[in-house]
Amino acid sequence: MMDTMMEAADADPIRLLALREAPLSLDEVYAAVGDTHAGGTAVFVGTVRDHDGGKTVTALDYSAHPSAEAELRRVAEKVAADFPVVALAAVHRVGELEVSDAAVIVAVSCAHRGEAFEACRRLIDDLKHTVPIWKHQRFADGTEEWVASC
């Protein structure tokens, strides 16, 4: 599956975009947006919850359309254009995940915390809205479900 990692040159605020089968690392994403000009870094980690709609989740997998990475870059570029972003990173996990695993980590560094929070919120919201990734859940009662497709 896709395990490419696009690390941009320093001048480019987009420091790391990736879709990965391997477990995600908060340290890696945070380090990617480190910058002496930044005063604040907002990070969001989306994790696998142990229940959904009252049912116990036992396993979960994410799959992505081939255009997912290009869409992720488009989302990142729009955020970098719309906010005073010093540095930005977004990584999404694909494949099989367990409860509490990180499914997505996004991080934005700015001079001030207000901008960092707003840009980070926009990044995760737009990612969820426009990047073609699908989530399939299996429940303890043996049933399963494609999230948002039922």
């Binding site: 989306g46 994410y62 799959s63 255009s67 997505v104 073609p132 990734i133 494609w146 948002a148 497709s149």
Partner: protein
């Protein structure tokens, strides 16, 4: 040559591949199947007929967005979206990243 197929060529019917993703693939029971249609609307109508025995197929299809030859169809009227010979129609259920 039946009148249907002759006139079909004249009116731009083309053949290509429908690719189903995620929930659409699960409900169709297949990742790919051919299309023989002039427009996206025709191709999808044919697919619904083909999978009429699968109760949730049409329902999931109704939630999907589409790419034709890689380009998002968006809000365009499916009847006005012409398909090409050897082209692809991709069926994308609602996204659920993060």
């Amino acid at each position: 040559m039946t009148a249907g197929s002759a006139s079909a060529e004249a009116t731009g019917v083309s053949e290509g591949t429908i690719r189903y993703w995620a929930a659409a693939k699960a409900e169709a029971g297949t990742g790919e199947e051919p299309y023989r249609a002039a427009t996206l609307a025709e191709a999808l109508a044919a697919a619904r007929a083909l999978h009429a025995d699968r109760p949730r197929f049409a329902q999931v299809l109704g939630l999907c967005s589409f790419l034709v030859d890689g380009d998002p169809v968006g809000g365009r009227d499916h009847a006005t979206v012409e398909l090409k010979q050897g082209g692809t129609v991709e069926v994308l259920p609602p996204f659920a990243g993060g």
